[in-house]
Subunit: 251 residues, 2 copies
């Protein structure tokens, strides 16, 4: 029994590391990029094997990638996007996509944590700016958040696999478990300015949902709240802009 | 004859200051916002006077706004967006929207100039970040650039009328005419870092097209090129993020 449980855990750890993408053009791009490690290609049985599908099958064969065939609705359960999957999905691995437990091993970090970001373009832009700037990684909950999708990848402009993305089920659990870490909520109600901050050795900056901001549950786990001072009575910044200003802080 | 020419110039100056918006929801929002000065409402004769159109007519009547009726294709020439105008367009004024000639009167400025920005969301985000940050205005050419549209207004999150927007026909003319001004091109090929810069009293930062960067003609008129240093081999930043980093520079 114990061995079974061990095996189950390993299988779970394996599958939670997979990112499933979909759509014909996206899958062609993935298959053509030899730096992306592919686990499995999924095709709907109803696909006509011509055009893009033919190309996809040839590319997969060339790379020795396993293809599995599914009924249309089973394929949609895999892609989780029946409207846009075009009968094609692909599971990929990324070394930079990892369980947030790995943060505990780090001695020093400046991380961005996302609390309910819904817009895929914002998520992609956040990834791009954090990869380019001085942020060590992004904590991305699997629940109640935009998922890594073709739209996110497009907005990230090819930077998705350049920066550690720490996945978790809920942000509360991660923030509650990390030791010696100062957690800052970016908040429009905060009194302290981001620019007066001397970040601690282990810092996490929490960015909240586009409309609602940081959720009350997560706010409770934060040590401090920070605002980016704004001129002309402007009420808020785009969340990806806020992430960028943090990523390019000169301190 | 001289008087006629004078009158012509005045009329031209009046009309070039108008911003034409379109779409039923947008027009309802504009009419409900008493801070927005409206010149004229345009309706297609083919609109059925119920639902949103009825509401629009009531709002316009209440505010004493002139309504003119057009054939569908004439309305589309006014909106310049037949696909999305829904038979409704509105001309508005904004005190912050002005001819770039006005820059010559300023003693000190830090401006962002846009050279071929195409994406309305980027333009809206640039306006929002510049309004919130320490930029004194945006130079926006009328040609070869995203125009102020409902999409731009949405992405600007209500900040469009909070910051001076200097319109011009072409950026080259404006940059060529300004005295004592240092013009910086943001360029991925630049050697000098934005963060080492001590901006001069009159500074203009030129941001280029999303794919092509600053055009060769405009580049020739720049005094210096600047880069934002990036980590992890990331090749570029979103143009609205670049504008935001300039708008929130700590110098």
């Amino acid at each position: 029994m114990k061995q079974d449980s061990q095996e189950y855990k390993q299988r779970k750890a394996f599958f939670e590391k997979l990112i499933t993408l979909y759509g014909r053009n996206v899958v062609v791009e993935v298959l053509q990029d030899s730096s992306i490690e592919v686990h499995k290609l999924h095709l709907a049985k109803s696909n006509k094997p011509d055009g893009a599908i033919k190309k996809i099958m040839q590319l997969a064969k060339k790379r020795g990638i396993e293809i599995t065939y599914h009924e249309k609705n089973a394929l949609s359960r895999i892609s989780k996007n029946a409207k846009q999957d075009q009968g094609v999905a692909i599971d990929i691995f990324s070394k930079t996509y990892q369980n947030a437990d790995a943060i505990k091993e780090l001695q020093e970090y400046r991380l961005i944590a996302l609390d309910g970001i819904q817009n895929p373009q914002n998520l992609g832009m956040i990834i791009r700016s954090c990869a380019a700037g001085s942020v060590d990684g992004i904590i991305l909950p699997k629940k109640n958040s935009a998922k890594i999708s073709p739209l996110v990848i497009k907005a990230s402009a090819g930077t998705l696999f350049k920066i550690p993305i720490y996945f978790c089920d809920s942000l509360e659990n991660v923030l509650g478990e990390l030791q010696d870490t100062t957690v800052y909520a970016l908040s429009l109600e905060a009194k302290n300015s981001l620019y007066d901050l001397k970040p601690s050795k282990k810092s996490i900056f929490v960015l909240g949902n586009e409309s609602e901001g940081v959720s009350p549950k997560v706010q409770q786990l934060c040590n401090d709240s920070l605002i980016i001072p704004m001129n002309r009575g402007v009420e808020s910044l785009n969340v990806a802009v806020t992430a960028s200003l943090i990523a390019f802080m000169r301190s």
